[in-house]
């Protein structure tokens, strides 16, 4: 096992159909028209020396090392910028070229510290490699001339350092920041000898606009930009490809190791979701795996007021099984349930729901998608026939108009945001519908064509207004609708949205958006070419979340923006495996593959495989479990990798429910907020410590590969298996691939999936079966999964969470780039350097009215509760709207949010809470009490050795 080395072809691949023949060093090679001479040579195995070229970036032609001779052409052109031509004869190596290259290298090396033996890039330095490749033996200029060797290092970034003394000014970092990431944080300042890489206006990296995606570090051919972990540990010696455990983009990474220590995570160029790019979380924020807070021994306690007692795995599992058996015996079979984790693998999630359905004997299983994209599942299933997004990420490269609503991709899905930005720079148009002026509204080289700043809670109104314009201005794609959709439902929908009450003018009082903006947006989306909808939790987390998803589906069907590349309805899913956890049957009413539990033939297939009789009625959802707990009929809960006491709304209700239970089992990496109310703690394993698969937002199933032994002793699927066996329901899987085989055997959309296939293909997108043996990048191509696409009338119904004299502002919540969800992982990394605490964004007008200054403590109160945090005054939010994140438990943001929820799925209405903001002296009494509670309930009684 060694390091995985990806071939660098020097310039990007070209997708032209025409092939061109040329001769390189006497060999004939056929390559796509438009390919560079450098790439053509590499395709036949000849590496032309290079420094400024890499196949992640456009050709630049500055280093002059890749010079070649081409018969019939004058001079020595750069092979990276010279496209191939039919019949071209190229020489990549001769005495003249060798001399020229050595001359170039001499110049570079004359101004370079010759400290290779102590350099962090020793063994991984392209400059060093090229010196060897060109046969550099001497530097005629000596080393005493004017140079840059005394320039100071910039170590301001927690994850990488910048040593300008080693910089060869190849601009790869600057171009990576522009072309790959799209942030434009770097530039070359000065000219000639003074030229140097500069973050922002010659600032330090940390103080600049740099978002720490790592693209510049990856692109650097020397040790100028280098991961601090490599500086500290040294070069890695082996690696495996795995999948990031943060957001739903599902970036592939090479986990580069030394022994069982991670040296760095490097984005994998062949990763089909990320194509070699990364963000600050996946690239750098993996240190939580070895954080001192990590719990690695099982613990139990009789009461949540007791200190934890470390016990053996045998005792913990036996105790848990005994408790669940006792509860079921005392209160009935339905008195227990479980929650699967969207951070765990498909195999682990599948196993938890199997344990609950087959081992507990009920369907009381739910997952965190309840509080994020459950409306997506319901809505897209009802309209199209399947509970997932329609496209692959690559589809965005063919979008002409992007309609982005209720999502903030540069923060929540940064790697996909970079793809979007690239397409936008190439000319696609952007419509943003969002109460906040998110970064994509205006960011370097991108300016949204339209920003519709809606009032929170009015998505359905604005989407119906868009539909009104499409229908009344005859912008409907009637051919598509006639061929692909249900005519009756279309007729009802058309009649409804065409009514005057749904016009942008009539709804302006509701949405707060000027009618002409709505009309322009509708026209642009309907007539601008390929229209692609991208949306996030700003759509789903409302009392009309499902209605809004249906409204998006209506728009896409009405305009024919489905069933081909470049279009579609694309939910940007939050957690790494939230798509997978839903696919695996985590909802109480569905078996794996989104098949209702009441379907006899489906249930029978599972009964046969699992050897039990399954309950045919749906089980409890998370909020219903807590209601039932308070009601006294639900007493035991097994929670794998989910922190409902921080992430779910109306914390008082959550904690009351948890406190009413007799056995709460938390399986997690850390003593999270929910663990404060737990009786058993089963230490979990990180994504680095397990095998399995994740499924990302584009339905892509990707391998997670174990690179170190679980620090807790077991992978999470093994813990579930231990518990099942202790409960008397035998499980004997030897490897997660056994579990995947069972999933494939029982789930038609996964029928063709196996670990062998994933090894061969890298990844596949479901449905993957006999009809689509290599998966399905774009769904609903010929027809919808349900047959005909179904329109739904989407009447706007205002939320009952209304502003008034007591609570005049609307709070909406979200997340930021450096933190992830409840922050359990990212708060235990250096990412806290960018976000030490949650802040309340407030418009200057509202701040002034309340005497609030930037950074002041403010109290935010709603009908549900109150909390305090610091204010950040910004025009990103409109007057009347305030915004915060929920990454830090002490913020207690969800003590303020209410228990209003989506009509179809109970997805909470996080995005709309009526609040008042007033000055405060600091944390509230409840926050102080909560901090005390946290200390008390986390005490661990260390077992005697």
């Amino acid at each position: 096992m060694g390091l995985i080395h990806e071939i660098d072809f020097g310039t990007k691949a070209v997708s032209a159909e025409n092939l061109v023949s040329l001769t390189i060093d006497g060999e004939i090679v056929r390559v796509p028209e438009g390919t560079s001479v450098m790439r053509a040579a590499m395709m036949m195995g000849t590496q032309i020396p290079k420094l400024c070229a890499t196949d992640m970036l456009d050709s630049f032609g500055s280093c002059r090392l890749c010079l070649v001779e081409i018969e019939g052409r004058a001079g020595t052109p750069a092979s990276c910028t010279t496209p191939v031509a039919e019949g071209m004869v190229v020489h990549t190596q001769n005495e003249r070229l060798g001399k020229l290259r050595r001359g170039v290298m001499e110049l570079y090396i004359s101004d370079h510290p010759l400290d290779c033996l102590t350099c962090s890039a020793n063994g991984d330095c392209e400059l060093q490699d090229m010196a060897g490749a060109v046969g550099l033996r001497d530097v005629r200029y000596g080393y005493d001339g004017e140079n840059h060797l005394a320039q100071a290092k910039d170590v301001s970034n927690p994850y990488f350092q910048f040593d300008p003394s080693k910089c060869i000014v190849c601009s790869r970092c600057v171009r990576a920041c522009e072309e790959v990431q799209g942030t434009f944080a770097l530039t070359i300042a000065g000219r000639g000898f003074d030229a140097k890489v500069s973050p922002g206006m010659e600032e330090k990296f940390f103080d600049s606009e740099c978002v720490s995606c790592g693209a510049c570090v990856q692109a650097c051919p020397t040790a100028t930009l280098m991961e601090s972990s490599v500086v500290e540990i040294g070069q890695p010696e082996h690696s495996k490809v795995t999948t990031c455990a943060y957001c739903g983009v599902g970036c592939s990474f090479k986990a580069e190791m030394r022994g069982d220590q991670v040296v760095r995570m490097v984005p994998f160029k062949d990763g089909k979701a990320n194509h070699g790019h990364s963000c600050v979380k996946g690239r750098f924020a993996w240190g939580y795996a070895t954080h001192q807070d990590r719990i690695t021994k099982p613990m139990i306690r009789a009461a949540i007021t007791d200190p934890w007692r470390e016990v053996s795995w045998d005792e913990a599992i036996a105790h848990t099984a005994a408790e669940f058996k006792r509860i079921q015996s005392q209160y009935g079979r339905n008195a227990v349930g479980g929650i699967t984790s969207s951070r765990c693998t498909n195999e682990e999630t599948y196993l938890v729901q199997k344990l609950i359905r087959a081992g507990f004997g009920n369907n009381n299983v739910d997952t965190c998608a309840r509080v994020c994209h459950s409306p997506t599942g319901y809505g897209l299933s009802a309209a199209f026939g399947t509970s997932a997004g329609t496209q692959d990420f690559d589809s965005v490269e063919h979008a002409d108009v992007m309609l982005l609503i209720g999502a903030n991709p540069t923060d929540g899905h940064p790697v996909f945001a970079s793809r979007m930005k690239k397409r936008l720079r190439d000319g696609a148009k952007l419509i943003v519908i969002d109460p906040r002026r998110i970064d994509l509204v205006r960011t370097p080289h991108i300016h949204a064509s339209l920003h519709l700043p809606t009032r929170p809670g009015t998505n359905v109104a604005i989407l119906t207004a868009l539909a009104h314009v499409i229908v009344t201005e005859n912008l409907v794609d009637t051919d598509f609708v006639r061929a692909r959709c249900d005519g009756d439902s279309f007729g009802q929908w058309q009649d409804y949205v065409g009514q005057a009450q749904n016009s942008p003018e009539a709804l302006e009082n509701v949405t707060g958006v000027a009618p002409h903006l709505v009309r322009e947006a509708a026209r642009l989306y309907a007539t601008g070419g390929n229209g692609a909808i991208y949306y996030g939790l700003g759509i789903t987390e409302h009392s009309q979340g499902t209605t809004a998803v249906l409204a998006l589906a209506n728009l896409a069907m009405a305009t024919g923006n489905l069933g081909r590349v470049g279009v579609g309805v694309n939910p940007l899913r939050g957690q790494n495996n939230v798509q997978g956890s839903c696919d695996m049957g985590s909802f109480p009413h569905e078996l794996p593959g989104y098949r209702h539990i009441s379907l006899t033939d489906v249930r029978e297939s599972f009964e046969q495989a699992w050897g039990v009789t399954l309950e045919s009625e749906p089980g409890l959802r998370i909020p219903n479990m807590l209601d039932a707990a308070i009601d006294g009929t639900f007493k035991g809960l097994y929670i794998q990798g989910e922190d409902i006491a921080q992430s779910d709304p109306d914390i008082k209700h959550i904690t009351a429910g948890l406190s009413a239970m007799e056995c709460v089992v938390v399986q997690d990496l850390f003593l999270n907020e929910t663990a404060q109310f737990a009786h058993v703690f089963l230490p979990g394993s990180t994504f680095l410590e397990k095998n399995g698969t994740f499924t990302n937002a584009e339905r892509r199933i990707q391998r997670v590969r174990k690179v170190m032994a679980p620090k807790n002793g077991y992978e999470d699927w093994q813990i579930t298996q231990l518990l099942a066996n202790a409960l008397g329901y035998p499980m004997s899987y030897r490897h997660p691939s056994d579990i995947m085989d069972e999933i494939a055997a029982l789930t038609p959309s996964f029928a063709g999936v196996s670990y062998d296939l994933l090894e061969r293909e890298g990844s596949v997108q479901w449905p993957c079966n006999e009809a689509a043996p290599l998966g399905t990048p774009v769904m609903h191509m010929e027809h919808f999964v349900r047959g005909e696409g179904r329109f739904f009338v989407t009447e706007y119904v205002p939320t009952d969470e209304k502003v008034g004299p007591r609570f005049p502002l609307l709070l909406t919540t979200g997340r930021i780039l450096s933190q992830y969800n409840v922050g359990a992982q990212t708060r235990r990394t250096e990412n806290t350097a960018w976000h030490q605490e949650d802040l309340l964004e407030i418009h200057p007008f509202d701040a002034e009215q309340r005497g609030v200054i930037d950074g002041a403590w403010v109290k935010i109160a709603s009908r549900a509760g109150e909390t305090s945090l610091r204010a950040k005054i910004t025009e990103r939010v409109a007057p009347g709207v305030v915004y915060t994140t929920f990454h830090h438990p002490m913020t207690m943001a969800n003590i303020v949010t209410t228990d209003y929820s989506d009509w179809a799925t109970n997805c909470p209405e996080y995005k709309v809470t009526a609040v008042q903001v007033s000055l405060s002296n600091g944390p509230t009494d409840a926050q102080i009490a909560y901090a005390t509670l946290g200390r008390t309930t986390r005490q661990i009684e260390i077992a005697a050795e």
Partner: protein
């Protein structure tokens, strides 16, 4: 949250479903509401709302109330035939 509050929450949820189907013809809407309750509500929740409707159902919207009655009838017929 008291027992009464929990029941009121279920009433609220049933009414939300009824509101979504408000644009449909009455009988179709009642059927859709009942179907939704059957497909997504756990039996304890259904029993509770059925019991509430049987004792007056104050606060349930007319179509939601009809749907709950439909649910009640199908539950009764199921238990009779099983």
């Amino acid at each position: 949250m008291s027992h009464e509050q929990q029941t009121q929450k279920l009433v609220y949820m049933a009414n939300q479903i009824a509101i979504f189907f408000a644009s449909r013809p009455e009988q179709e809407a009642i059927g859709e509401i009942a179907n939704h309750l059957r497909k997504f509500w756990e039996p304890r929740m259904r029993e509770k709302i059925i019991d509430f409707a049987a004792h007056g159902g104050a606060g349930l919207m007319p179509r939601a109330e009809e749907a709950v009655k439909m649910l009640s009838q199908s539950t009764t017929s199921q238990s009779t035939t099983s």
